[in-house]
């Protein structure tokens, strides 16, 4: 949580981010502000553009993808996505990434130690060998890998999935970045390991004061881990909501439908889970008006005309000043019954 008395300079500020693959716009104007030490979740179905946002912020979109609009500021300085050298200096030192699949995220033929050291050496070339080794061991200890000296000499295949993700988190925090982007960091892990990795991220954030953007489809995870949640649908943020009011307070019909489709432990066996009819629209042929309207139970004829307005659902309370504004991009946001 932000302990700063005044609204501090945001660690990451994104305004109107647009990303296109060829002619198809997959991210259509995303706004996002993350303050130091804050944890913000980005959730949505696969294909909604959430992973693209993560890669676009890093400047690491796959070939064919490009940032077509918007402004990104990291710790107060504007990022120029056409300046590769400046991007290389920023990546790893100010903005770093924890990737989806720990099994394929490490080079199989380099030792764990050399892969952590690579991040350190890139940004502190004058560091001595001994200092690098000591720092690598320190980092492995910090992410909860026992016997760091021995583990540093090992190779990825000698690490379990959870241990690999810990090593990757060590790589990501090696240079004390301002922002850590975690793209589905727990999806490939089994449930008990997931909880451990989340706890680790949580303690690191509190210890280092790093801002976290957690990209995931797991709405339960974000509500537990994050201060604030952004719900994405078809390349846009349709609702921004403080996570303590997510369950019971969601205003956008899409968010509500997502929450209702979560399995609840203890529900009688055989009862069908709620689901959202239809499928997300192809980004190359979006419906007019609100993109969710064709699947929405609350849709009215006017929903298919014009961009839906951004409605302020509730002003932040005094206690949470500067952190949480609850908005939804839906003309009926205030009419949809919540809870």
């Amino acid at each position: 949580m932000s302990a700063a008395p005044s609204p501090a300079l945001p660690a990451l500020s994104v305004e109107g981010l647009r990303v296109a693959y060829g002619d198809v716009e997959v991210v259509r104007g995303v706004d996002l502000v993350v303050r130091p030490g804050e944890k913000v979740g980005v959730v949505g179905e696969s294909g909604c553009g959430k992973s693209t946002v993560a890669l676009a912020l890093m400047g690491l979109l796959a070939t064919g993808g490009s940032v077509t609009g918007g402004a990104v500021t990291v710790s107060g300085s504007r990022v120029d996505y056409h300046d590769e050298r400046a991007l290389d200096r920023m990546r790893g030192s100010q903005l770093s990434l924890v990737f989806q699949d720990p099994l394929t995220s490490l080079d199989p033929v380099k030792s764990i130690g050399s892969q952590i050291a690579e991040a350190l050496r890139r940004h502190s070339p004058r560091m001595s060998r001994a200092a690098v080794r000591a720092r690598c061991a320190e980092l492995l200890t910090a992410v909860g890998v026992p016997e760091p000296e021995r583990r540093l000499r090992q190779y990825p295949h000698e690490f379990s999935g959870g241990m690999r993700q810990r090593a990757l988190i060590a790589v990501a925090v090696a240079n004390d970045p301002a922002v850590l982007i975690a793209d589905e960091p727990t999806t490939a892990l089994d449930v008990t390991t997931q909880a451990q990795v989340v706890d680790l991220l949580d303690s690191l954030v509190d210890g280092l004061g790093v801002a976290v953007v957690l990209v995931t489809h797991d709405i339960g995870l974000v509500s537990e881990f994050c201060d604030r949640v952004l719900v994405m649908y078809a390349g846009r943020v349709v609702e921004e909501v403080p996570s303590d009011v997510l369950f019971g307070g969601a205003a956008h019909p899409y968010t509500r439908a997502l929450l209702e489709s979560l399995p609840v432990p203890g529900r009688p066996r055989g009862e069908d889970l709620a689901w959202i009819p239809g499928a997300p629209p192809p980004l190359s042929a979006l419906p007019p008006g609100c993109s969710f309207a064709p699947r929405c139970a609350w849709a009215q004829p006017e929903c298919s005309v014009g961009t839906p307005p951004r409605v302020v659902v509730s002003e932040p309370s005094v206690a949470a000043l500067g952190t949480a504004l609850h908005t939804a991009e839906c003309r009926r946001a205030l009419e949809v019954p919540r809870g």
């Binding site: 690491l60 290389d88 770093s96 990434l97 033929v109 000499r153 295949h157 000698e158």
Partner: protein
């Protein structure tokens, strides 16, 4: 890991298994070479004595060559003689096969090693640039390597001689052996003139030997070089798509450094085994290029041996090739096992 005894025994077991495989392969190769040569029509004894010899003389030579013994005994003798380097007498050369091959092997080896160097260096450079830069360069590299794969060696050799050799631009010597005639070969150490020239401190001999090597080595390197280029380009394209490359970039490593340190490294490992086979094929497959360039290697002896049904030479060559292939393959596997951490038996 923490169990040195079990990992040592695992390494021993693996080594023993590899050795058994090698022996089985060699035995099979020896059977094939033995049977094929005896299935060929024609009587080597008749070839030696000539068409006018009396039956008595013919029978005498047959006995002398051991051709009257039962086949299994002939095979056992053949194996024993090969293992003890008694590769028989080559009547077409008038000398022991061992001596003939020993005299000519260094020339072939030197040619093959330089061709291998050209092929590997060329393939690594072209494939890396093509997969890093992509676009038109990758297209050109693809077309050139496809053409390279489909072009006959002797044709390339002839074109190179005509264009660059003494009858063309005169940049490099044509088909005139290993050294210019007024130069003395360097003192014999390895038999490779370029190496011996350097060892003896004779830069002129080194450069002259290299100039003579250049055209035949390039002709010989073209097909394996094109093959390795295709292989390395495909491997690098695969590795470049792997998520860990994005992770490396996310540390702030530039695209070129990430490609060199991670993509190239990962792409080279699976190519090492193929490189071993390429080396073996270069040593045993230089016959055509050797005859175009008048190169005094084993290729020419082999051609003569086949034409004159000189069993001893051909058998020795076939089995020697099998040994080379198996040795190159085993060596390549051993190198891969050493440099690939996933295959390394942990000794920690």
């Amino acid at each position: 890991m923490s169990r040195p005894t079990s990992s040592t025994s695992a390494a021993l077991k693996r080594g023993a298994g590899a050795l058994l495989g090698v022996l089985a392969t060699l035995l099979l190769a020896s059977v094939v070479s033995f049977v094929v040569l005896r299935a060929v029509p024609g009587d080597p004894a008749r070839l030696i004595v000539g068409p006018l010899a009396t039956p008595d003389v013919l029978a005498g030579v047959r006995t002398q060559l051991g051709l009257d013994d039962p086949l299994w005994l002939q095979y056992l003798h053949y194996l024993r003689d090969f293992a003890t380097l008694q590769w028989g007498y080559s009547y077409s050369n008038g000398a022991d096969v061992t001596a003939v091959i020993a005299a000519r092997l260094p020339a072939t080896l030197e040619l093959a090693l330089w061709a291998f160097l050209f092929a590997v260096v060329g393939a690594v450079v072209v494939a890396t640039l093509a997969s890093y830069r992509g676009g038109a360069l990758a297209g050109v590299a693809k077309v050139v390597s496809l053409v390279g794969l489909g072009t006959p060696q002797f044709w390339v050799a002839l074109v190179l001689v005509l264009v660059l050799g003494s009858s063309g631009l005169g940049v490099l010597p044509g088909p005139s052996g290993r050294l210019t005639s007024f130069l003395e070969p360097p003192p014999h150490v390895t038999g490779l003139y370029t190496v011996d020239g350097l060892l003896a401190g004779q830069p002129i001999v080194f450069s002259d030997a290299l100039a003579h090597l250049a055209l035949p080595a390039i002709s010989l390197a073209l097909i394996p070089g094109a093959f390795l280029t295709r292989l390395l380009t495909a491997n690098q394209a695969d590795v470049a798509r792997a998520p860990f490359v994005t992770v490396v970039r996310s540390k702030g490593v530039s695209r070129w450094a990430a490609h060199r340190r991670h993509v190239l490294h990962n792409a080279l490992l699976p190519s090492l085994a193929s490189a071993g086979l390429v080396l073996a094929s270069l040593i045993t497959g230089s016959v055509l290029v050797e005859s175009v360039f008048n190169w005094p290697g084993i290729g020419q002896v082999l051609v003569q041996g086949v034409q004159r049904q000189d069993f001893a030479v051909v058998q020795a060559f076939v089995l020697l090739s099998a040994v080379l292939y198996v040795a190159a393959n085993t060596a390549a596997d051993a190198v891969v096992a050493l440099v690939d951490p996933r295959l390394r038996v942990s000794t920690r």
